[in-house]
């Protein structure tokens, strides 16, 4: 007896499910294709995003049709489709490749208020950075596999998955590589205790202090990329006194505006742990 998950039982003898090996994938195979954690794929099955059945041993078998439908309907296509067609264009480190690397941040935050504040802040101070936003944990994990950001900023309390699971899932992600992680939370130090293990070694920003504490962390994580980008976009010095110097076809690169933070050294971890703000 096998079961199509999402409360649709189906018998092994029922041929409406094609049991040939090419018609379904294991959870691990899908996780590799999408660049996601196995647990994330299991959750997608449980949520009904992917159609699956269970073997007598309890292992999920995900239908190829549902996976292809999901890839077409989502933005997870780059990693997933590339993997399916053997065309993944990744560096050995798992990072995406660009002629000029555009620093990229993924924000996973369900509060529209703080989505707006982070967006405004990044736009204002770091116009060269691409910011992408996901409003829940599952969408965030999917976007992570797709976007391969250089920095991920994640809220702890999100719909779809508890924060500790999300952070652990991100850090175990096949593509996590050198991606930096910053946690953004309205929880004060005491309220964060249940998440202590997941937050170990992670920079934490208390939301009320976001404007002061996030920019130094962004600079610490992406400053070298911003510098590289500026350098890469500088017109090449002319070897013959400038006669053959190419005029840039675009306006001069916009230099990331310096943060108003007085020190480039991140202080957020200590500040976040001190919990000086009211319970948040």
């Amino acid at each position: 007896m096998c079961h199509l998950l999402q409360n649709t039982p189906m018998n092994y003898t029922n041929n409406s499910v094609d049991m040939s090996s090419g018609a379904y994938y294991t959870t691990l195979e899908v996780a590799k294709m999408l660049g996601m954690a196995v647990r994330s794929v299991q959750l997608m099955v449980d949520r009904g995003d992917l159609q699956a059945w269970k073997t007598p041993g309890g292992h999920r078998r995900i239908t190829r049709d549902s996976l292809e439908r999901w890839i077409k309907g989502s933005r997870a296509g780059v990693t997933g489709v590339a993997a399916m067609h053997g065309g993944a264009s990744l560096r050995p480190s798992g990072r995406r490749r660009h002629s000029v690397h555009v620093p990229r941040i993924l924000l996973i935050e369900d509060s529209a208020h703080f989505q707006g504040l982070v967006s405004t802040l990044v736009k204002q101070r770091y116009p060269a950075i691409e910011l992408h936003v996901s409003a829940d944990a599952i969408a965030g994990l999917v976007s992570f596999g797709h976007l391969q950001p250089d920095l991920i900023i994640v809220d702890i309390l999100l719909p779809g998955m508890d924060g500790a699971t999300l952070i652990t899932g991100l850090r175990n992600h096949a593509l996590f590589g050198n991606c930096k992680l910053v946690v953004l939370t309205a929880l004060d130090a005491q309220q964060r205790e249940p998440y202590a293990a997941a937050l170990d070694g992670v920079d934490v920003v208390h939301k009320p202090r976001l404007v002061q504490e996030l920019p130094p962390l962004i600079e610490a994580a992406l400053g070298h990329l911003l510098a590289n980008k500026d350098a890469a976009e500088e017109p090449a010095p002319a070897a013959n006194g400038g006669a053959l110097a190419l005029a840039p076809s675009e306006p001069p690169p916009v230099k990331a505006k310096a943060s108003k933070a007085r020190s480039s050294k991140p202080k957020a971890k200590a500040a976040g742990k001190s919990g000086q703000q009211p319970a948040g």
């Binding site: 509060s111 208020h113 703080f114 707006g116 504040l117 405004t120 939301k207 009320p208 703000q277 009211p278």
Partner: protein
Amino acid sequence: MPRCEQVALQSLFDNDSDLYLAFRDACIEQFVHDFQLAAALLVAQQDRAAFSRLAHSLKGVLNTLGHTEISPLAHALQLEAERADWPELQRLWLELRARMVAAFGLDALA
């Protein structure tokens, strides 16, 4: 600008009044949707987790804007969302809502 907001502007926004006011304006726009969501959740009386997240979000926003006199109400609502009966949640919500309406001049929403 109320005193509490001036303090937040100085202590949390490094006196960047443009950023503070842009955030405040965006929050006021979003409060309309938050109020609608709360009303819907209270009518449905099913999704305590969503109600808790909404209260949690408002708590963080109110603290960031400097309204630390109101944020404890949001914090209490967040805690109660997991255990209190719905009439009690309704009472707490109306109290929080009234304070927000007064603090941000949201009379048109009241």
